[in-house]
């Protein structure tokens, strides 16, 4: 569970994010909203990368504690990597040797383990990113726009690989409504730095969608 206090956060003079009290305990949770609505900022606040006061709290080994980056695995919108690392080197950064083979197998990455990251196509790179995130030894996974560069088939693969890990608590920022409809359970709808919807994914499609996106949005 992640709890957010009522507060507001200013990034610079141009952008403020207003947050109500929120308890996030249904996963996968989606942060939905148009570009510039504050999704990435909220994601970074949840992970303790950006500090607010009073702080965000996270259920960690049975107690509610102040959110720290080390409690989360984080996948940025554009992950960076050393092209000279092999896939194995890259995955080992998460420090989880035990499960490396299992996860690599699951994502069909096994035959690529010895290849350099710089020689992979974008689809296989994406799989390497996902594998590293899943390998990190924490239940909480934050993902920023994971589908934005994927074709429909790759998106289907992504959903399948994430679904195989019900033990992980995903919080995903996205404006991809079909991704939400097939994977999301809980929605925080954002618009211009305000939380305009809070509820289940089904409710979102019934009544929240027009608060988040402009009226007449066609899926």
């Amino acid at each position: 569970m992640i709890t957010v206090p009522k507060t507001h956060f200013s990034y610079n003079a141009h952008f403020s994010l207003f947050l109500p009290n929120m308890n996030i305990d249904t996963f996968p949770t989606f942060l939905i909203g148009p570009n510039g609505s504050g999704k990435t900022t909220l994601l970074k606040i949840l992970g303790g990368f950006l500090k607010i006061s009073p702080p965000v709290k996270v259920l960690w080994h049975g107690t509610l504690r102040e959110a720290k980056p080390t409690y989360f695995a984080y996948m940025p919108a554009r992950p960076t990597y050393d092209p000279n690392f092999t896939v194995r080197n890259y995955l080992m950064l998460s420090g989880n040797k035990k499960q490396l083979e299992t996860i690599a197998d699951e994502l069909e990455l096994k035959k690529w383990l010895g290849r350099k990251m710089g020689t992979l196509s974008s689809g296989w790179l994406q799989r390497a990113f996902i594998a590293r995130i899943l390998l990190q030894d924490t239940p909480y996974v934050l993902m920023d726009e994971p589908t934005s560069f994927l074709d429909p088939e790759a998106r289907k693969d992504l959903i399948e690989s994430l679904s195989r890990h019900p033990e992980k608590h995903f919080v995903i920022s996205s404006h991809d409504l079909s991704f939400l409809s097939s994977f999301g359970k809980f929605v925080i709808g954002l618009r211009d730095g305000n939380v305009v919807f809070l509820g289940s994914a089904r409710d979102f499609f019934e009544k929240g969608i027009e608060d988040v996106f402009v009226t007449g949005y066609i899926m």
Binding site: F72, M75, N84, F85, N89, S94
Partner: protein
């Protein structure tokens, strides 16, 4: 790896025996022994310089995510040259101390400028460019008034390997130790190839780690350039050549970059000593030229598997 070692050992023997006077390594005369001592000193010096330049460059390349930077990034090289030029201009010494003070002053001003209005790496790099540029014009300005020694200013900006006295040797050992500090942070450097948030989530204190790595690298670089002047290219070339040969984490890359750097410098120094009889070419000039040609060959011959 084995090939590199063999090449390095070969260079060792060549550098000892080859010169204006050939030395018989098996049974040297007392005179030749003195000569051997001199050549050994130079060989070790060149190797250490190569190791320091390539290891600092490797660390800085990772931290700034740019494969084309080296230890001169934050202005320490031009600071060292300015210090040296100043000491010639004022006719006071010791020039090494002036050079060291100059490069440290450059480093401090880069950090001060870079911390104005924020503390990200890009700011620091831009501040380094500004400091470099300002110092270069100051160097040009002063050397315009130093007609008689314009040549020595030039030779200083080219980098000159020479035998070192024990005091200078201590400074070199310190810079080598700073490199070991960098090597001991290999794990953190590996993680720093990821984005800032990913690195933080893996337990790296991003800001502190990055700034201490930059400081240590720049310090090590400034110690070397304050004694020998500026060597361009080794720092950029060695890690990139290592990347062509092997893949992997920083521990491995430090070893390979260091060896390639040492090899490049040692070979260049032999060429600098021996290619023209009677005079010595600045090693920095040889290393930029030979290194560039070698690098180009290396790059083209292996470009196929990288071009995709």
């Amino acid at each position: 790896m084995a090939l590199l070692l063999v090449l390095y050992v070969l260079t060792f023997f060549i550098s000892l025996s080859w010169g204006q006077v050939r030395v018989n390594l098996i049974s040297p005369t007392p005179d030749e022994l003195t000569l051997l001592h001199y050549r050994l000193n130079r060989f070790v010096t060149a190797s250490i310089v190569g190791v320091v330049l390539s290891c600092t460059a490797l660390a800085l390349q990772t931290v700034t995510r740019n494969y084309l930077v080296d230890s001169g990034l934050l202005g320490v090289n031009s600071g060292a040259v300015l210090g040296k030029v100043l000491s010639m201009f004022l006719k006071t010494g010791p020039s090494q101390l002036f050079a060291l003070a100059g490069s440290l002053a450059a480093l401090v001003s880069t950090f001060t400028l870079g911390s104005l209005g924020g503390t990200d790496i890009l700011r620091l790099v831009v501040a380094g460019v500004v400091v470099n540029s300002v110092l270069s014009s100051a160097i040009s300005l002063i050397s315009l008034y130093l007609y008689t020694s314009a040549a020595s200013v030039l030779s200083w900006t080219l980098g000159h390997i020479r035998t070192v006295n024990s005091g200078e040797m201590i400074i070199m050992v310190i810079s080598l130790l700073l490199c070991f500090v960098l090597v001991s942070r290999s794990k953190q450097l590996d993680i720093l190839t990821l984005s800032k948030e990913e690195a933080m989530s893996l337990g790296v204190n991003y800001r502190r780690e990055v700034f201490s790595l930059i400081t240590v690298s720049a310090l090590a670089g400034s110690l070397v350039s304050s004694i020998f002047g500026v060597f361009s290219f080794v720092g950029v070339a060695a890690p990139n050549m290592a990347r062509r040969i092997v893949s992997g984490g920083h521990l491995k890359m430090f070893v390979f970059s260091g060896m390639i750097g040492a090899l490049l410098m040692a070979v260049s120094d032999v060429i600098a000593r021996t290619s023209l009889s009677g005079i010595e070419i600045p090693t920095g000039l040889v290393v930029s030229f030979a290194g560039a040609v070698f690098y180009l060959y290396f790059f083209w011959s292996m470009s196929r598997d990288y071009s995709s």
